[in-house]
């Protein structure tokens, strides 16, 4: 018996083997992500239609967004995806300490992302760049309120996904402290990892589409 705090994993009663359990979870997660794709997909369709109708509005509106903050956040999220991968890897090679530090880093990156988003939102709200009927800023184009409706809906829903991801990472951290993840069992890490990369990927599309028009 080793002295490490490794908790053995028990396969749920209705599965025949660990492999069946792991593969089921992975397939389930992928199907769930397909669902997420359709969820965001509809918003991208809205974006495409309104940009097609009002290209000049989108050209003007993107100038009111700070591409520097956007680029910074893109780098932050890509870094967080990397630390997430490393966290899964650490569990696979039984390095609990580095697992915990990589998860913590991912959590910090996510927090930084939301912090920057908060600064950006505050600035928009301050200048009246608000969705729909709350829009009060001065602009040339007639339909700026539509752009900011789309901007807040898309980034807001994305931010909500980040928040859910952070809660999941906290849950993973607690379980990591208990030594539940190791080379024989790391299913939840892998699943949250998939989710996290998806959320990252959504931002990689949002950034150029909203900030880098023209």
């Amino acid at each position: 018996m080793s002295m490490t705090l490794k908790k053995p994993h028990h396969v749920a009663h209705h599965f025949a083997s660990e492999a069946q359990e792991f593969e089921s979870a992975r397939l389930g997660m992928w199907i769930f992500l397909v669902q997420e794709l359709l969820f965001f997909g509809a918003l991208f369709v809205v974006y495409a239609i309104f940009r097609w109708w009002h290209p000049e509005t989108f050209m003007e509106a993107h100038q009111y967004l700070s591409w520097k903050w956007g680029a910074f956040n893109t780098v932050v999220l890509i870094a967080s995806s990397f630390t997430m991968v490393m966290a899964v890897r650490s569990a696979q090679v039984n390095q609990r300490k580095s697992l915990i530090s990589y998860l913590s880093l991912t959590l910090i990156f996510a927090g930084v992302f939301l912090g920057v988003k908060y600064i950006e939102y505050m600035e928009k709200i301050h200048h009246g760049f608000l969705p729909g009927s709350f829009f009060s800023a001065q602009g040339v184009s007639e339909y700026l309120h539509l752009f900011f409706g789309i901007y807040f809906t898309m980034t807001g829903l994305h931010g909500l996904h980040i928040l859910v991801g952070m809660a999941l990472i906290v849950w993973l951290l607690i379980r990591s402290f208990r030594g539940e993840f190791h080379s024989e069992y790391y299913t939840p890490l892998e699943m949250v990892g998939l989710y996290w990369h998806f959320v990252d990927l959504v931002w990689i599309f949002l950034f150029p589409l909203l900030y880098l028009i023209g």
């Binding site: 509809a42 239609i49 969705p131 539509l146």
Partner: protein
């Protein structure tokens, strides 16, 4: 020392053992209960609005109350009853049994989906008491942005119910891929499983689009984001596109599981292998795929381009092919079968007859020129009730009778089942066949008053609704009675070959004493002994 063998119903006792159960069978039974209550509620609204239509002028309700009634009837029947009906109740109960598994892949997620369903249902009920919504269940903008009735709570309810549906879909797909018993190859799966698989694909791919659409509608009402509001530069037709991108495939979420039930019924009561197993299986997938490309036929008069309308019309016709493949295969299955006329088979016949009428009139409505005349008339109402009620509800009830002995270990009364079937069948045709005629004569849907000349037909339709109600009330009574006084059911009362009949009635908590090893197809009648 009790005589009753241990089964999933009596294995553990107390309310808590049900509220926290992870057993797919118990979850299925709880779903069944809520779905039955929803059906009763939706039916009550239907009776109320038929009553109003007895008279050409105002009778019991004002115009606004009438609008609220048909909206609630539609919303309850669609979101709370028919979308979850077969998959969540019968499907949940049967899927692991038919695959030879102990449970679905994610039992906790399964229980979560039930709670999400109840939670969403509470929002819908709240909406009824807080200025019931009057937009029609389709929530078309811009009216749904402006009306003073409680749109938000109802759409939020539907939004939440959508997640319940998505989670069931994810669970079923994984279960079918990963949980099959040894020897259960894809082509040895019962056709019910194939149709649940096709249904789950639509649930996962279409429902999120409804979710985002309803969310945008809520944002429209709270923040005026303007995407669907023409006054703010938005596009109300875009709402219709988004809404039907979900809601047309959703029609197949409703009918595909019914087709699965029908395949089980016809083979069991004809004691014969299904005619063309693979074609019936693949036609489910074909329907699922085509279903995503036909939504535009709801917008023939909404101002979409003529070319789009032509293509959507053509694609709509395509759905008829896999549907007809199924119908003809079921008929061919009966040929030279050894037919037993039991209640489930009666509902199979009802389905075949009514669904065919519903399908044919669907083709008529898919024709551009005819649709312009019939659009938004009672003809459309009659068409989708023939498919949804004549198809899905008949199959659901047929399946309920078929699996009743397995679920509760009791036999229902064949005599009363026949009487109730006759009432439902006669009543249904009185209500809805009349509406084909009304619609063709130009009676528009969703009006609480009408021209005097339509009164005889409207009155006949209303009388039919009472006949049908008698049938359903009878059914509720004899089914409840069977739980207390019914004859004890044998393990396999119908002599069917699918796996759920090879275990005891009601099944054990773990379904089978030993994981079954499958060596033959699900309907190999006459070859049982050889295996």
């Amino acid at each position: 020392m009790s005589q009753v063998p241990l089964n999933y119903l009596n294995a553990t006792k107390g309310l808590k053992s049900w509220l926290f159960t992870l057993d797919h069978k118990r979850i299925g039974i709880m779903y069944l209960m809520f779905i039955a209550i929803s059906f009763g509620l939706g039916g009550f609204f239907a009776l109320a609005l038929r009553l109003e239509l007895l008279n050409p002028k105002e009778l019991l309700f004002t115009a606004k109350q009438y609008n609220q009634l048909f909206t609630l009837h539609g919303a309850v029947m669609v979101f709370l009853f028919i979308v979850p009906s077969i998959p969540a109740s019968l499907g949940n109960f049967l899927l692991p049994l038919q695959l030879g598994a102990k449970d679905v892949a994610f039992p906790r997620l399964n229980l979560a989906s039930l709670y999400i369903y109840v939670f969403g249902g509470l929002f819908c009920v709240y909406s009824m008491f807080s200025g019931a919504v009057d937009t029609g269940w389709t929530f078309y903008t811009p009216y749904s942005i402006d009306t003073s009735t409680s749109v938000i709570s109802m759409t939020l309810g539907a939004f939440i119910l959508g997640f319940s549906s998505i989670l069931t879909g994810v669970n079923f797909i994984v279960t079918i891929h990963k949980m099959r018993a040894p020897g259960m190859t894809w082509f040895r799966m019962p056709l019910m499983v194939w149709s649940l698989y096709a249904t789950a694909i639509i649930q996962v791919l279409a429902t999120p689009v409804l979710a985002i659409t309803l969310l945008l509608l809520i944002l429209e009402r709270t923040m005026g984001i303007g995407i669907f509001n023409p006054a703010l530069g938005g596009d109300p037709v875009l709402f219709q596109h988004f809404f039907w991108f979900y809601s047309h495939p959703a029609v197949y979420i409703m009918i595909l599981p019914a087709m699965g039930v029908i395949s089980e019924l016809v083979t069991a009561f004809c004691r014969k292998n299904i005619f063309g197993y693979k074609l019936v299986a693949f036609s489910s997938l074909a329907i699922a795929i085509i279903s995503f490309f036909v939504w535009g036929h709801h917008l023939f008069v909404s101002g979409q381009s003529d070319y789009a309308a032509m293509i959507f019309s053509l694609l709509t016709y395509l759905v008829a092919i896999p549907s007809a493949v199924k119908v003809f295969n079921w008929i061919a299955t009966m040929y030279r079968g050894s037919i037993q006329i039991k209640a489930p088979f009666l509902y199979f016949l009802a389905f075949l007859f009514l669904f065919s009428i519903g399908g044919f009139t669907g083709i008529m409505l898919g024709a551009l020129s005819l649709d312009v005349h019939l659009h938004d008339t009672y003809f459309v109402v009659a068409h989708f009730h023939y498919v949804m009620m004549g198809g899905t509800v008949m199959a659901f009830i047929g399946g309920l009778h078929y699996w009743w002995p397995k679920m509760f270990g009791r036999m229902y009364s064949e005599f009363w089942a026949f009487i109730a079937w006759a009432f439902v069948m006669v009543g249904f045709n009185m209500v809805f066949f009349t509406q084909f005629i009304l619609g063709a004569k130009g009676m528009p849907r969703r009006y609480y008053s009408y021209l005097d000349q339509f009164q005889p037909l409207h009155a006949f339709s209303t009388f039919g609704s009472w006949v049908m109600a008698v049938g359903f009330i009878l059914m509720a009574f004899y089914l409840m009675d069977s739980l207390l006084n019914g004859k004890k059911a044998p393990d396999n009362p119908w002599g069917a070959l699918t796996l759920e009949w090879q275990t005891q009635s009601p099944p054990l908590t773990e379904n089978f004493i030993e994981t079954p090893v499958v060596t033959r197809g699900p309907y190999d009648f006459g070859q049982e002994k050889r295996s």
